[in-house]
């Protein structure tokens, strides 16, 4: 017979099932699950990213250099406003600080957009999807020509492109996608992982990154020009260049270094944008024939500088695929509900609670 405990049932206690020695602690766990709030997907995200404002902002795990970048830009601009602007406003025009302010705001907003936007992370495969791909890989191994396992070849605009299988994400990576080891994510149109912005640069935030470095180039060029003008005007004032430099030391070489390195980077990325390449592809020499293959041309390029620039910088903004603020589907709780309905019909189970037993008994007596 069933293993039941006949005890006085307190109607008040029926709503909260009391765990008895014969009952496993399942009712307590069920109640825990009901009370547990629905979790958002960012809380269970498998990659090494950090999230702020309930999943609205995403950064890499190590965002240590981002404060330094912000600090450098801020310090340079503040020094410019404090030391150069008063003199230049008096001797030149009042628009100097206005232009400087606009460029500064533009650069900082672009930087924050680059740092806090999802670069184009691909969500990992669901277990069913991963199993299906594994099956396909096993099945395809029987052909006469055997490409190395875990790669797939596709023809894109008459170019053979190899798609690699990502063991972490359990997917065949789409073209131009690469797995970032620092963030532990596959990122679409992966350019590079930038420690200065504390995030990967990929399909979704490349335009922000490009705007950032170009506006920063303009800002540093502007400050550099203003500082040079300031020094020149002071030197003209009769006391000579050396005295002027002594009065305003350090800022001149500091700004000069920043300016040339950022200008170099802007120039490099302008070349990449015009040829529709990523830093990753350029370094690896995927399309320049360095890797040994002949007649390789970039299959993604439109062969027109204007079209390439427009498609990379002004194309439609793709959506974020990781749905950070969506809720994790509660499939576990719906399964427990289903099993609860079936349980009273199975006599062998120990998990039948006392209430159902008594109800069945009462019904059988009445019937």
């Amino acid at each position: 017979m069933k293993n039941c405990e006949y005890q006085q049932i307190d109607p008040q206690a029926l709503s909260t099932p009391t765990p008895t020695p014969t009952q496993p602690p399942r009712p307590a766990v069920e109640e825990e699950k009901e009370e547990e709030r629905a979790r958002r997907k960012w809380e269970v995200f498998p990659g090494k990213n950090r999230f702020y404002c309930d999943g609205r902002f995403i950064v890499a795990q190590q965002s240590g250099v981002l404060p330094l970048t912000l600090g450098l830009i801020l310090v340079t601009t503040v020094l410019f406003f404090v030391f150069d602007c008063p003199f230049l406003v008096k001797h030149l025009t009042v628009f100097i600080p206005a232009i400087g302010g606009v460029l500064f705001v533009f650069a900082v907003i672009s930087l924050l957009h680059t740092s806090f936007t999802d670069p184009g992370i691909l969500p990992r495969a669901t277990p069913d999807e991963a199993a299906d791909i594994e099956k396909q890989i096993d099945n395809s191994g029987s052909s006469t020509y055997r490409p190395p396992p875990r790669t797939k070849e596709v023809m894109i605009n008459e170019q053979v492109v190899k798609l690699k299988y990502c063991f972490t994400c359990k997917i065949f990576r789409p073209p131009r996608t690469s797995h970032c080891s620092l963030c532990d994510n596959c990122v679409e149109r992966f350019d590079h992982h930038c420690p200065w912005v504390g995030n990967c640069v990929g399909k979704r935030n490349y335009r922000f990154f490009y705007t950032f470095i170009v506006s920063l180039s303009f800002l540093t060029a502007f400050i550099f020009g203003c500082v040079a003008t300031h020094l020149a005007l002071r030197a003209q004032g009769g006391r000579g260049l050396m005295f002027a430099l002594q009065e305003n030391p350090a800022r001149y070489p500091f700004t000069k270094t920043l300016f040339w390195s950022i200008l170099g980077l802007s120039g490099f990325h302008t070349y990449l944008v015009a040829s529709n390449l990523t830093t990753n592809e350029d370094i690896k020499g995927s399309w320049s024939g360095k890797s040994g293959a002949e007649d390789t041309a970039n299959p993604y390029s439109y062969n027109n500088i204007i079209t390439n620039c427009c498609s990379v910088l002004c194309g439609p903004m793709p959506p974020s695929l990781i749905d950070r603020r969506g809720f994790v589907p509660v499939e576990e709780s719906s399964q427990t509900v289903a099993t609860e309905i079936e349980l009273p019909m199975l006599a062998a189970k120990n998990e039948i609670n006392v209430e159902d037993n008594c109800l069945d008994f009462a019904v059988s007596c009445a019937g």
């Binding site: 999807e129 894109i156 705007t211 439609p316 903004m317």
Partner: protein, 143 residues
């Protein structure tokens, strides 16, 4: 137990027999397109033409979302000029088309796939990697 035809109930009560994944088609580059090849597992459930028509419509919708043209360039330039702050208040063209796609898939499920014991999952829920077709057990023979 009353017979229910809604998708929610079907998902909870019906047992899943199999899942078929329609993979991406990269022959035109990185644009979002899905393969129109008819999977053999669906041969007994749905007409090949019908299925290919659904996938072709989906591909057309995604092509519309990613189209490079005057309106997308205008949106991009305007966004750049406002330092991309316009994205905080405006819905992008892509997002508008994604809503259209969600509605299209819902319609297809209600009219064509649910009566045949199939369910299409919106590709956006799978990271635009696959179109997942869930095949439910054919209960009509059992009852």
């Amino acid at each position: 137990m009353a017979e229910t035809h809604s998708l929610q109930d079907m998902r909870q009560q019906a047992a899943i027999a199999a899942k078929v994944f329609i993979q991406r088609d990269y022959t035109n580059g990185t644009v979002c397109q899905f393969q129109t090849k008819f999977p053999s597992e669906l041969e007994t459930r749905i007409d090949k033409q019908q299925f290919e028509e659904t996938v072709r419509m989906l591909n057309n919708l995604y092509a519309e979302a990613e189209k490079l043209g005057g309106s997308s360039y205008l949106e991009g330039c305007l966004a750049c000029l406002t330092a991309y702050t316009i994205f905080l208040c405006m819905e992008t063209h892509y997002e508008k088309v994604l809503k259209k796609i969600a509605k299209f898939i819902q319609e297809q499920n209600d009219k064509i796939y649910a009566p045949r014991g199939l369910l299409l999952t919106d590709p956006i829920e799978r990271g635009l990697r696959v179109v997942e077709v869930t095949i439910f057990e054919d209960r009509s023979l059992g009852r």
